[in-house]
Amino acid sequence: MSAAAPSTSGPVIRLRGVTKTYRMGKDNIVQALRGADLDVYPGEFVALMGPSGSGKSTMMNILGCLDVPDSGSYVLAGEQVRQLNDDQLAAIRNRHIGFVFQTFNLLPRLNAIENVELPLVYGGSARGRTQRAKDALAAVGLGERMHHKPTELSGGQQQRVAIARALLNDPSIVLADEPTGNLDSRSSAEILSIFQRLNDLGKTVVMVTHEPDVAEHCKRIVRMRDGVVSGDELVPQPRRAEDELRNAGAGQSVDLHSGTITHVPAAAR
């Protein structure tokens, strides 16, 4: 479980002058990104903030190789993304990036295990697939509800399934677009504690959020406005989500030394 950064010195993500324009019809042209620059170094935990429509999701999609910039350069782990074809982008999404969405994006017909297995269906070795999915679910505290369908899970639980899915191929980068946007504060804290745990283990995390409370858990806050990066600051003393959960008397106990998160069933809602 190491952050597979090719070099510890250079940035793992480097955006330079990235633009993205959406055309809806003849006259309706939206410049979602107007030359955004961003460097993210291995092991960082970045919060991406900014008003609605400022281009945060557009940037995340480009970072996650779900979309490509119109112009500018995106170098991911030393590789120029604009030169890659569809299948190469798919392989990067599969192996190197874990993406978590605000709306969870689980397949409704599949149960938790099957949803989590999905990245292994499209890459990696099929051996021990189900076991790996179960381990990943246990690691996010969902050991009990592995055979449930998404509709039978709470929002927080669904998001944890989505995180388990994002982590299955052990990516070095985890991208999350408003992962707590649809969740109450307690579920949000649980999700944040998982991300902090992952970051502690060396993974680079970039997370979009509107809530300053949430952003204070990150090590660095990048602000966007009108399609460009408008501010960049370090958080001197990031808050720890697990401390807050413990203080709140929640049913989460975190074993920092072994690096595993265990769920206490008695406290499960």
């Binding site: 779900l66 979309d67 569809d86 299948d87 798919a90 994006n105 269906v121």
Partner: protein
């Protein structure tokens, strides 16, 4: 994507939409079923026709009097037409003897009233020569066939068909050595007390033919064979002419040669130089079979075409439903792409789903087609048709079903594969 995952996912989506899948498959099911049933029945019919033609004897070259290929009404005025005679047959025998299997000449003597052992029966009398058993591949159950000597002296001897014998003497009774009385009544008919004259001729039974069954709906076991000469002189009075001369070629491959040789011999004997104006017609059994096969083959193709059209319609139905399915599952496609599915993963998934629909439809169609043939066999008129669904037909049906899945599933699957991940994820 592992092929197993594709199959599992395809099967799941077919099962989730049970009713829709069933309705979609219906076109393919009906198409495959009709092709299977029609081809089976068509093949069976053509096999039956072939068997019946061959049951009259194999490798036969038949000579009949008159030119059936030309307009005799115009030509007949100038050319003196000759009958076929026993001498023609003897000439063929003499000149072609070593190169042919056997030869015989037949002269029909019409229907006669037959009386024996107090029983009355009505039967067809045919004058034949001693080559008959060999030419017709027809052995005797009891007794012996009459001899060349019998033919020479127009002996009043007869060989009975098995049905005729059974009706006159009873089932399982050997008629050999018994005497039968042939009787033909002239004039009157239904007239009351009119001047009726009857001819009565006695024949000695020398043998009985093996039972052969029905050909083209007619029993071939109700007949009485007598020497051709006896039929000519004693029964019909038309001396020396015969209806047909039948030559059995040495082998199927020799039939064309034999046909040409027989034609040459007869043209020479009848002193005709232009084969087009021959006063006889030579038919080759191979040609007859080919003509019949062409008829049944055309019929089979026609039926298969109807099935093919319903398969086409079924295929369009598959395409339609796959397009709907791709549309409905746009978000799913987006999610799969987001976690790393490549174009070909999505393509195979939807292609296999389409192939799954047509494949299952094909298998159900084969079962339904088989069911139809079972029902057809219950129809009395079709009871004797050797209806058979061959492994080849099944293989073709499965192949065609899969091909339809590929052809009509490809476009929807390509549309799915080309979706942009973000646009697919944003789709409502």
């Amino acid at each position: 994507m592992k092929i197993f995952d594709s199959f599992r996912s395809a099967l799941q989506s077919i099962i989730v939409n049970k009713l829709r899948s069933a309705l979609t498959m219906l076109g393919v099911i009906i198409g495959v079923a009709s092709v299977i049933a029609m081809v089976a029945v068509g093949n069976g019919a053509s096999i039956q026709v072939q068997q019946q033609v061959l049951s009259l004897g194999s490798n036969l070259v038949t000579v009949t009097a008159g030119n059936q290929n030309s307009d005799t009404g115009l030509r007949g005025a100038g050319v003196q037409s000759m009958n076929l005679t026993l001498d023609d047959m003897t000439a063929i025998q003499a000149q072609l003897g070593p190169t042919i299997g056997a030869v015989e000449a037949e002269q029909s003597a019409g229907r006669w009233q037959v009386t024996a052992a107090g029983q009355n029966w009505n039967s067809n009398i045919v004058g034949v020569t001693t080559g008959y058993p060999q030419v017709r591949d027809w052995g005797l159950a009891t007794g012996d066939f009459f001899t060349d000597d019998d033919v020479r002296v127009y002996a009043q001897v007869a060989v009975l068909g098995s049905t005729t014998a059974a009706n006159l003497f009873g089932d399982g009774v050997d008629p050999t050595g018994q005497t039968i009385q042939l009787r033909q009544v002239f004039g009157g008919g239904g007239g009351a007390g009119g001047a009726q004259r009857a001819r009565i001729v006695n024949f000695k039974v020398v043998g009985m033919l093996d039972a052969k069954g029905t050909t083209f709906g007619f029993s071939r076991d109700d007949q009485i064979l007598v020497p051709t000469t006896t039929a000519q002189r004693v029964l019909t009075g038309r001396t020396n002419s015969v209806n047909t001369i039948i030559v059995k070629a040495a082998s199927s491959d020799e039939m064309a040669n034999t046909t040409a040789d027989v034609t040459d011999v007869l043209l020479q004997r009848h002193k005709i130089s232009d084969p087009a104006s021959a006063d006889f017609t030579v038919t080759n059994q191979n040609d007859t079979l080919a003509a019949l096969n062409q008829v049944t083959g055309t019929f089979t193709i026609l039926l298969a075409a109807i099935g093919g059209i319903s398969l086409l319609v079924g295929g369009i139905g598959i395409m339609n439903i796959m397009l709907v399915s791709v549309n409905e599952r746009t978000r799913e496609i987006g999610i799969r792409k987001a976690v790393g599915a490549r174009r070909r993963d999505i393509l195979t998934q939807f292609l296999i789903e389409a192939i799954g629909l047509t494949g299952i439809g094909g298998i159900l169609g084969i079962l339904l087609g088989w069911g139809i043939t079972v029902v057809v066999k219950q129809i009395p008129a079709a009871a004797n048709i050797p209806i058979a669904i061959t492994a080849g037909t099944v293989a073709i049906a499965v192949g065609v079903s899969v091909a339809i899945g590929v052809v009509f599933g490809l476009y929807p699957a390509m549309r799915a594969a080309r979706l942009h991940p973000i646009q697919a994820l944003r789709y409502e």
